[in-house]
Structure formats: C-alpha cells, structure tokens
C-alpha cells in the first residue's frame, strides 16, 4: 500500500505532496524533511529503496526532481519504482501534447518554470527546477492512485478526464 507520494527538488523543497493516510499538517514538514534527507544523501549506485521506520521509501530521480513514494513493507518496491516512471511518462505525454496546443502554452511555462537562470535548460548539468501546474499534476495523480492503491496505469485512460476538462474549458 502506498502511504504518500512526494515530489521534491534537490534543495528539499516540496513541490507536491499527496498523503493516502492522514498525517497532520504540522507533522508533514518534519516528515518530508526527514524523508528527503534519507533519499538525497544516497548515491546513484545505491539501492532506490530505503527503509524508513516501519515502512519503506521508493525514490526515483529525474534531473533535480526527486519523486519519493512511501510504501508499506508488503508492497512490491520494484513495481512502485516503475509506477513512478509511468507517472512521469504520463506527465510528459500530457504536457508535450499541450505544447503543441497553442492555447495552453502558459501551462507548459508553469510546468517547466525556470528557477535560477533560464540558461539552465540548455545545460543539463546545471540545476533544473521543474515546477508544476500543480492542479493538473494532482488531477493526473488522482487518476492513478486512490486510497493508496494503484487504480489506473493505462496512459490514455489516465489522461482522458483531464483532456476532456481542458477541451471544455477551452470552449
């Protein structure tokens, strides 16, 4: 079972968090900081699964962005690891399509907003800070995970409700 999904940048700042088991707001920041510390200190050649208290963390790094999933011990870590990638692929599919759709360029700007300097996009080595169109990422995540369970992994089906929404809003 999935306990939470976190997206954090390399400075440890939370970009997105979704909890599937109630955690008081006041304790989230401490938990997130702790979790991020656990993952950020690990090297590339180390295992992507970390034991954390009585549950496990599965994390995956995309440039400067870390996606961390807290799972119970009975969960299949590797399947979660791939789920994270599926999620990223879905995001990519959605936002790259939006790129082609001229009206929604602003969305993309939001998603890949620049942080320190705009040149960072050119250089992959420099820090890249990905930011979101928060609501849409949440909507996508909600289609994939509910109550800590994976409910949909089919990319087109995950995106169907959101694209429908976009079309309607578009008029």
């Amino acid at each position: 079972m999935i306990k939470f999904v976190l997206m954090v940048n390399r400075q440890g700042q939370t970009r997105l968090s979704r909890y599937y088991q109630p955690v008081e707001l006041s304790r989230r920041a401490a938990l997130e900081a702790d979790v991020v510390r656990c993952c950020l200190t690990r090297k590339k050649d180390q295992c992507s699964f970390v034991e954390y208290k009585d549950f496990k963390l599965v994390y995956r790094q995309y440039a400067a962005l870390y996606i961390v999933v807290g799972v119970t011990d009975t969960e299949n870590e590797l399947s979660i690891y791939e789920l994270v990638h599926n999620f990223v692929e879905v995001l990519d599919k959605y936002f790259s399509r939006v790129v082609r759709h001229s009206d929604f360029i602003f969305t993309v700007q939001m998603f890949y907003c620049l942080s320190i300097n705009q040149l960072c996009f050119v250089s992959q080595q420099s820090e890249l800070d990905i930011m979101f169109n928060l609501d849409r990422v949440h909507i996508i995540l909600d289609e994939m995970i509910q109550n800590g369970h994976i409910v949909e992994t089919n990319k087109s089906r995950i995106l169907a409700p959101l694209t429908a929404l976009d079309k309607m809003a578009d008029g």
């Binding site: 997105l16 009585d54 789920l83």
Partner: protein, 1140 residues
Amino acid sequence: MSDVVEKTLTALPSLLSLDSQPGSAKLSSTSKLGNLIRGITELTSKHEEEKLIQRELASIKEQVSSPNTSMRQMKELMVRAIYCESLGYEASFSYIHAIKLAQQGTVLEKRVGYLAVSLFLNESHELLLLLVNTVLKDLQSTNLIEVCMALTVVSQMFPKDMIPAILPLVEEKLNHPKEIIRRKAVLALYKFYLIAPNQVQHIHNKFRKALCDKDPGVMTASLHIYLQMIQENPEGYKDLTASFVTILKQVVGGKLPMDFNYHSVPAPWLQIQLLRILSLLGKNDQSTSEIMYEVLDESLRRAEMNHNITYAILYECVKCIYTIHPKSDLLEKAAKCIGNFVLSPKINLKYLGLKALTYVVQQDPKLALQHQMTIIECLDHPDLIIKRETLELLFRITNAQNVTVIVEKMLEFLHSNTDDYTTIDLVGKVAELAEKYAPGNEWFIETMNTVFSVGGDMMQPDIPNSFLKLLSEGFDTVEEDRKLRLFAVDSYVSLLQGEPGKLPQRFLQVISWVLGEYSHLREELEPATVMRLLAKLLDMKQTSSETKSWVLLAMTKLVRAGQVFQSAQEVSETYGSSMDTVLRQRAQELQHLSQDCELRARVLPQDAGLEPLEVDSSLSFLDGFVSEALAAGAAPYKPPHQRQEELAQAKALSLEPYGLSLPISMSSCSIADRQSPTLLSMSSGLSGDSTDLSHKGSSTTLKLDGVKRVWGREGYLAQREAVEEAAQVEVPSPLRSPSQQAEADSSHSQTPTPTPTPEPDQEKQQLASSLFFGLSSQSSVCLMGKSEPTPQRFRRKAKGQASSSGAAEQISNSLVSAPSAVDNFLCNNLLDSNITSQVGISSSEQTSELSQGPATTNGTCDTEAESTDGDIKGSNPSLIIGDNGLVAADPTPHKDPGSPKDFCLSSHLPAELSELCRSEITPLCSNQSLGLSACHVHKEDSLVLVVFITNSSDAAIRQILLDLDSEQLQVSCVSDSPVEDVTSHSVAMHQFSLTVKRPSVHVEVVGMVSYQLPVGTPQEVQFSYKLPLTSFIRPLTVSTEEYGTMWLSFSHDTKQNLTLISDGEEPLTATLNVLKEKLQLHIVEIIGMEGIIACQLLRDQPCLMHCRVHADVLAVWLRSPVPDLPDCLIYHCQRALQEH
C-alpha cells in the same frame, strides 16, 4: 538522466521567448503561483520562507473573501493555497471556499474545488458534510465530466454516515454505457467497502458483475474490492479462483488492448494484483492451488524480458508460488528465477532478490546454499540497505551451528548503525537468536551484555524482562542454572568495576536485579563489595530515578547477608527524604526490611523466582472502591481495545520521531512485560512505578493503530506468518517431501563444498562455510521452529511457557502479572470451573444425564421432540417464556432408560405445569420398592422442581418425608399438604419452588426421602439434583434508557471475549440471537456493532450485557448488582456459543 526530461527540455527553449511578452489576464493570474514558487525556490532560510508564505496567505485570504473574486480567480487562489499547505502552512480559511468552488464552479474550476477539498480535509472533517449536496447534484448531472469528478471525490473521501444518500446513484452508475463511469463507480463502492463494509453488503453480486465487465478497466477496478474481501475471508471466494486464473491467462497472453501495455509488458500492475489475489486464495489449499499451477508456470515463462517491470511481476509470482500449496517443479523454477535477481548487477534487483530469498529460504533452505557466496558479498556491500536485508536473510537461516557467526555479523552491523529503528529491530533479533541457540553460558551472557549496551534504553522492554525471567526460572538442570547465574554475576561485577557510567539505564537495572538476586551464589564475593558497587551507581549523576529504585531494591535483597547493614542505613537515610515518591518508598522499605529479618525473609525469599504466587486476578478487592468511584460520577472503565479504537480515529501514519516504536509482541514477552521484576509485596511502590511507566509509554510509543505492523520480534510479520502457514502445508504433503528430499540430497552431493563463484578468496569461503553450516545437512535444518537439530539451549521450562501464554494460574514470585494477563486468568478460572463442574457431574451418576440434558437441549428442541412429547410441551403462545424461545427439553427417548416412564410420569404433572416448558424427567434413584424422578418446570416468575415418587412395590408406602436442601438455592414447598402415603404401583408428586440465593454455574439440590414400608424399619434414600443456572434466567424487558441508568448503578462486572457466530447472517445479530434463544435473554437494542442485552435471575436480580464486535470477536461486558452472576452467565454464554 531520463530521456523524458531531455525530450521536454528540447521543447522548452521555443517557449522561453513567450515569457518576455506581457501575458494575457489568464497568464498573469497563473503567474502568481509561478512567482510564488520562484520566490520560494530562491530563498535560502526557513525564516524568509515563513515570512513570504504568511504574506502570501494573507493576500489569498483577503481575495477569497472578497465578493468580486470570480470563480476563475478563486480556482487560482485555491491552487496557491494548496501549494502553501503542501509546504506545511495551514490555510484553513480557504477550506470553505474550496467547497464553494466545487459547488459553484464549472468544469476545471469545479474539479480544482474538489481537488482542494480532498487535499485540505481529512475524512472526519465536519465541513465534508457540506459537500454531500454538491456530490449528489453532480452525480445526477447530464454532463459526464461532472459525474466523473463527483465519483472521483467520492472514492477518495466521503462521510461514512452519508453513504446511504448517494449509494443508489452510485449503484446505478454501474450500468452506465461509458466504461470510465462504471470504473469510477466501482472504485467509489470500493471506498464504501473500506469505510463501511456493512453498507454495501447487499451489492456483492454487483461486484461480480463488475468482475465480468467487458471492459478490462472496470474489471481491474473490481479487483481492489476482491483483494480486500479475500484478505478478510479467503474461504468465501474460492469459487472465483478459476475466473482470476482465466483473467491472468488472458492478460499474460497479451489479450488486452495495446494501450494497457507498459514498455511492451501487458498490464503489469494488473498481473501483480491478480497474483496477490491468487496467493491469498491458494494458501493452505491444495485443490485451489492446483487450479493455478499452469498459469503461474506460464507467468514465469513469459516474464523473460529484461525490464524492471517484468522482474516486479516475477517477484510477485515467486512469492505466490511459495505461498500456495507447493508444487515441486514450480518451486524449482521459481528458485531459479531468484538466482537471476540475486546475481544481477542492478542493485534494485539484488535487493528484491534478497527479499524474495528471505521469504523462500524458510521453505527451501538449500536455496541459500546455492547463493551463499552472493550472500557473503552482499554482507559486505557498501549499501547499508543491502547489508540489512542480508542480515534479515541470515536471521532466517540461523541454527545452533551458525549462530555465533551470524550474531557476530549482526552485532558488527549494529555497532556501525546509526538508525534507531534498525537498532531496535536488530537488537531484538539478536536477543531472540541468543536465547534460542546460545552455544554456551559465557557466550550468552556476553551477547546479552552487548545487546543491552547497544540497544540501550530504546530496545523493546520485553528483552530485559524475558532475560531476567529466563535467569530466574532457569532451564534444564539446577547446576546449569547456577553456572549461568554465576557467570552473569561475575560479568556484571566486572562491568560495574569498569565504567558503569557508560552503560544504559536498562542495563543497569538488569545488573542490579541480578546482583540483588544472585550475588550470594558467588560465595567469595562479599556482599559489602556488591553494596559498594551499587552505591556507586546511586551516586552517578546520570542514573535515572527509575534505575535508582531498582538499585535500592537490590540493596534490600543484599542486606539479608547481614554485614552490610551500615551502608544500607546510610543509603536509606539519603533517599528516605527524596522528593521522588517511589524512591522514598524504596528507601523506607530498605530501612525497615534491613532491621526486620523475619519480615524480610517473608517478603524477599531467596530464589523467589521458583515460588509460585497467587494473584487475585479479578482484582475483587477493588470492587468497593470502583463502585464508590462510579457512584461519585467517575467514568466507567473502558477496556484497552475500546480506548484504542477511539484513539485510532484520527491517526494512521505515525510520525513520532523514533519512539519506542516497535510493537511489543505480547506472545513472546510473557507476563513480565512492561513490569519491573520487583516483588509484588512492594505493591504500594509498584503503583507509583506502573503509572510512571504507563505515562512514559504513552508519550514515547508510536501510535501503531492504523499503521500496519510489519516489524515484530520475529522479523517481517507478514512474511513470517506466511512461512508458518507454509510450513504447515509442507507437513502433510506427499508431493513434496520425498522428491524434495532426494533432490536436495542429490544437489548437495553434487556440490559438496559449495563454490558457485569461480575464485572467491579464502576468507569469504571460510565465512561461507561457517555461515551456512548446518544448512547443508538437509534433514537437520532448523528453521523457525521446525524440527530442531539440537535442543534449544535455553528452552524454557513448561512452567515458563505456560505462564507466558497465560495458561497458568500461578506466576512466579519475582514477576508481577501484567494487566493483559488478567483477562486470561479470568478466562482460565472459568474454564477451570467448567472442568470441575463436569467432574462433579460425572461423579454423581444419577444426575449426570440431567445436568447435561438441559444444557445441551435447551432451545434445540426439534419437531421430533414435539411429536413424541407434543401433548405436554409448552406450546402456548401466550406465554412470554415460550415466546422467548424456551422450549421443553428434548426427551431423547432412545437414550434415556427412564423415558418410557417419562411419558407416564409426565401425565402426573398438574395441568398448570404441563403446559409450561420443563426439563426432561430424570430418575434420581430407585430401589426395589421406590423410585424417585424429578424435573424442573420453568414458570414465568419462578422455577418449580417436581419430584415424582413411584411406588414400584406391591404394598403401600407410608410416612414419606421428602426433605430438600441446597447451598445455592432457597427451597420452599409448594404443595399445601404433602402426600405421605403412596399406594402400590402409583405415583405421588411433590412440588418445590426454587430461587437462587447465591449464583453458581450449576446449582444443586440434595435431598433425602425417608419412608416406611409395611414391614421393616423406616428407610432412607438420598439423592441430588443438579440444574444449570440458566434455568433461573428470564428475559428482562427494559428500554434503552432504563438500561442506561441500571448499567451505571451496578457494581459487579466481568468482561470476556466470545467467538462470533458467522453463518450467513450478520455475525452480531446471529450471535445475539443464539444467546437469546439458548439463555432466555432479552435483546434491548442492536446499534451498529454493539448490542445490549438484559436478563434477570429469578427473582428480580437483573444482569445487563453489553456486546461489541471487535475484530472477529465479541467483546462482552456484563454487569449486575449480584456478585458472581456475571461470571456464571458469561460461562453459559460461552457454552451456548460453543454448542451452537
């Protein structure tokens, strides 16, 4: 670097130019979030961040409450509020606006409103009620998108009580033409099932329909419900096994549409889900397992592609194969697969391989042999996670031969480890292994010393407790016990002579207890020396007051030697005025006991661990105090599970930083759990102790309710359970044992000295041979309590085990009973009384049938009985008793030798009685001339005992005098003028009215008949008649309010867990109905998971019963003003349910 990111990166530069253009209204409004995020990112200090966010929140607050804010702006504000909350800053002012946005917004705004609600509110938040109407409206909308989002939010969170309001609408959606609506409806029902399973009980057939849906998405959604339901009750869904197998076959065979593929693997997560379901269904079930062998084989074969996700499926598949009923060639194939994992250079796969291996070696230890060099390498792996997992694996293959090496490895890891949680866990494992397989006293004590010093004050409290218990109870021989204790004493003395300041408090407590108890064994050791060492502890600054009280107690034990009187005096003077009440208490005790040798010998006998101690487990001496307190308005006691439930409502994921977070496994930690092994006679001091401890417990323990217990004393709990069950499976399997054995032997002979890697250095080889020693001899492998090659060294004595499982009534003197044991004791007392009463029954032959009779036949009278006994059976519907299900006892003519008589005797019953329910007529005694029989008749307000005197002689019998007496009952004669003479071959009848003086499980009437035959001297015959207390129980009709007031006023109570009856009906109702039928109880009301029941003991002695379903037991609480009545009644409830 991911190609995804790269791809998107290349797309970006073209967009950058747009950024410089002045944006439209749309753009600028979204930029506010952008600016915020940018601002936050650039900040470096937490303080600045806080300032910025507070400013942001203030501006959001101002805007949301402004009437001019459009829905579109509102949406944007909500996203910003979501962002602020995700950084940990509360934006509670926006919650109501989120609901408003969901209500009033259109399309995307509405969706964001719902999203914000689901992120802001938890499931018990009261504002959620405001959402119900919106959801209701959207569910009925013609716009599919709105229906869709309403269903999405419902499947995320919905107030439990409002489910009925929307359930019909959701059910309706199951037939919707669009797959996405059907799918979301199923997920919504899944949510309902999770939060209120009873509410969706009636639509189980619809779940089946969803499972058979033509759309794979809807089918997949229904699997969530099935996984959940099968977890709870695997027996109920065995018939679906073939369906799940077919689905898996189709998925594996690539029958799903292409878009379900992930990297060319067909629906991998669906496969995993199905494999989980199959493993649940096939567990311990050979015939069900056989259905799935083929598809599992195919899954193994198909998953050949080298991608992470196929390994994830393989892992699940292997797990399934090793969970279900074993099939040898599948096991072999699965084992081979694991090889691919473990040998993989990819570290994630290695990890998973180790995890699978941990799981598998318990069934098939030779697998560990195959991979032993890999395991050795993993043990030295730079990644601690891998190392840790390897230790976990080694833990599972530990036996008496390799224990020293494995424990050494574990301790090595412990020394370098910094994570508290891991330390606690590993320390527990080391302690367990040491206790189980210790090769010698010296090793054991030294290992435990390390455990105590490394584990320190955060280890589970049951480790020191069980250690002390082991020392005090001893094991095999007296001599060995003595040696072990001696060694402990020596070791501790030298530790104290070193640097005691470095030792953790818990360890010091253990040391002082052992020295107090056993230092006398070392004769050359002067008590004064020990005293001095202990006194040094008292003087140390870092010594906690809890430890000090242990030290003082040890000193109290030491003064029995006499010479150390002086220093004891000094110490007691110092602490006699301590501010700490417990310490002061101990000091006073030290003072008094050191002066009074006789009292000390009584209170602190030597070798007290061996002496049993009677414990008043019912705490009856507190009854007066409790009733006084209740009368004064104190809240009635709530059992722990009830309190926990209340506590559990809001918390699930526990984030307490490193508390004493390991769950304490009650099974293994014995009675000494959480108690200091101080003497019971110190009870006044103890109360201080225990409150102290419990207070500490509440503040430091992780709240584990809701969080799944994954770690226990035994390791991964889930896995262990599985293994135990698997082990059970293994035993009766003819399939496995012979072939497997042969195979194991052969494979072993092929690799006599296992060298799988080409040139491992010698050191590793050596390590391998010591680690895997004992594993190679297949038959003598010792795993998890399977056949042991050598007897466990520190196997507890039977007594120890018994007391730890709560089965003994007596516990050893030096240990104090844990509260949890009380219930067990209570239970056992009842069971004991059960046994003794049965003994009583069988000893009095004449009454044996009778007393069995009513107990077993009450309320089970069938039509057969009616036909044989129909003329006299109480079938009058006007009788209340009859209404309540009391029927005449089954005469069982074929068994009862007296039954032909029964018929004719029953005709002698007076008319007013013959209509009523009664027990069968039982012969009491007889001789040549006279026979006595009796039965009891249930009147509404009384119980009548009817005694028949049959004159079987040819002459008349005169001057018959019937005298009855009973300890528990009050007997009064009903007949006005008792018959004194009985003519030849006729029957006389006496009636007595019985009421209960003192409740007891069974009550007995003893009697004597004296009579005079025409010739000869007066004669006497004695008899006894036993009847269950239930004969005196009548329903008590009260309202719930009356019940409430009565409940509070009654002082005698008892609590017990009963098994629930689960045949078809709702378990609570079914169980209560059985009780009602068999025991004549009145069900006052059933509310949800609780039921209240009332009855009375003749006459007018009420007893109330409160039942609550907790997990799968019925927690019952009885109260009555009559002492003993609750206990007796609970006994009969147990019996009634057992017989059902």
